[in-house]
Amino acid sequence: MALNLFDTRGCPLDKQRFTWRDMVQKPISKLDDDAYTRVRIILLNGLEMEALRFSHACARMNRTLQPDLAQLRRVEQHQATTINWLIGADHSPLETTIAYEQVAIDITAAVAMREPDPYLAQVYRFGLLEDFDHMHRYSALLDRLEGKDANNILQSYTDILPGRPTVDEHRHPLDDLRAPYDRTTADPLSKMHALTIMAAEQQTHNYYMNIGPLFSDPVARQLYAEIASIEEQHVTQYESIIDPEESWLEKWLLHEANEVYNYHGAMAQETNPRIKALWERFLDYELGHLHHVIQLFEKIERRDAAEVLPRLLPDPIPIASQREFVRQTLAEEVDLRADGPDFVEKSLEPERTLQYRQQLNSEGSPSELVATGYRWTPGTELTARKAA
């Protein structure tokens, strides 16, 4: 059922409380919980991390907003902690990486399928095929470094196949910038999509930058260095599709609405009752944040929030296997490349990107090397070697 953003006021800010015991709950089971419960945890944590980053940037530029930003940000901090700490410590950092790529693939695919703006849909399909390739490379690393099968994490929902080769994803920075939607005409769903995917990619970038140096093996250290660089490109891409003409308060309003949108979707689709209750609680918190910001927006900008927000939320992003869509996109668009904001055939790639890539890969490519001869096999490639 669609949620009415204006009629549901949510939990008041002064009732949004936490304790350490409350924030640090029992984690999900890596073995028994559904992979999409973990996907939702990662996605929602990404949104909370984006809420924090946005709030800090906004505070640095808007002194008058600092008291309200500080109050809401403290709650977002504790929400992020509660969510992120649900990932059990029996996940190795590399296993969690596989889950991050599952988020990048299945959520981006779902967004690309439903995006009403054809150009933005193309942007998502373009990024999708790159994250899809990362899954293949990281699965090879997991198999060849830790002797583990990535499908233990993916639970057969998501394919492990090459996409647009990671070695070819390195582009000149100017070829990562896309054209933004127009804030006055864009569909509200387009705005939710852009914020959601930007947040997910930013979180992934930060995660790889933090855990890359935890590995001792140079193969892993190089692969994380390489893919973190692509995730930085993806953040550049996805933040460039958001209209920079939105005011700070308008952006804040959209951030809060987007959190409401995604908690609502998570709650509607969650299979673990304990986690579903958490999504419900945080949905209530986010509605409280949204209405706090609606009041600020209307007071300071003297505009009706309904100019910016839809009355009813769009249907949730489906969190499910998008195997057929991904395969079709792969078959049709793997050879697309970028020329500034435009997508072009491989042969038309700009010289600046070719030179940048050639230099970066001139001492070898970790993503190529780690997956040389790799083919996903249930139970790891050693199963096939034994049978041979």
Partner: protein, 245 residues
């Protein structure tokens, strides 16, 4: 806490989604496969790093005048003293970590006192205390040759990294008493081998008194190993009997 491991909805294997898994595999099989490529390819990336490596770091020089000029140090010719100091540092670090590992295990066992036989908790506390005594014994041995027991030597760093998995597994509130004992069994196997090597080294370097003290520690570690192994075996067999009936 739930102590028995039971059959349930583990979703990790391909048998949970046979159609999807088969579909995945069919697509994957369109790729050329060469599992041996991993061995050679990855080695080629690692090789220059291995060749350039300068090791984990150094063994600290004795910081005291007494240490630098002690009879022991003189007896151990300069290029050999560091071997003994490094291995003493290793044992010290492992024993100190061992105390914490036992403390964490005790927390699990105290929360489920029915799992182990009567008197077991007392025995585990005794083992924990012996680990602490061994830590003190090695610290004293280092001091006796003028070395610094507060420094982290390369082999101490090594066993610290090796033990990260043990600590991580023990600290997880979801690992039950039997699983936690299994962690300590792994630690005790390593510890026994470590003491044997250290005793051999001390003897080879003419440190007979030190070796004699360490023999006592090894004897106690042997008891820890035997007892923990017995509990692991008993509880595992008990698990089997629960399933069977």
């Amino acid at each position: 806490m739930k102590q028995e491991t039971t059959m349930g909805r583990n979703r990790t294997g391909v048998q949970m989604s046979p159609a999807d898994a088969s579909d995945m595999q069919q697509m994957a099989e369109t790729l050329p496969a060469d599992a041996d490529a991993a061995e050679y390819g990855l080695a080629s990336l690692r090789r220059p790093y291995i060749e350039e490596s300068e090791g984990l770091g150094s063994v600290p020089l004795p910081g005291t005048l007494k240490g630098a000029t002690s009879a022991v140090m003189e007896a151990l010719s300069g290029d050999k003293a560091h071997v003994l100091i490094d291995k003493l540092g290793e044992r010290l670090a492992f024993e100190r970590g061992g105390v914490r590992l036992y403390e964490s295990l005790l927390g699990k066992c105290e929360a489920a006192p029915q799992v182990l036989p009567e008197g077991a908790l007392e025995r585990l506390r005794h083992f924990r205390d012996e680990e602490a005594e061994h830590f003190a014994m090695v610290a004293e041995a280092l001091r006796s040759i003028g070395a610094d027991p507060t420094a982290q030597t390369p082999c101490a760093d090594l066993v610290g990294v090796e033990s990260m998995g043990l600590m991580q597994a023990m600290g997880d509130p979801r690992t039950n008493v039997l699983q936690s004992l299994h962690i300590v069994l792994d630690a005790e196997l390593l510890d026994n081998a470590g003491w044997e090597l250290l005793i051999g080294l001390a003897k080879a370097m003419g440190q007979d008194q030190m070796a004699q003290q360490f023999e006592q520690a090894l004897e106690q570690e042997g008891e820890h190993l035997q007892q923990v192994r017995q509990w692991v075996e008993e509880l595992t067999l008990k698990d089997v009997s629960v399933v069977r009936h």
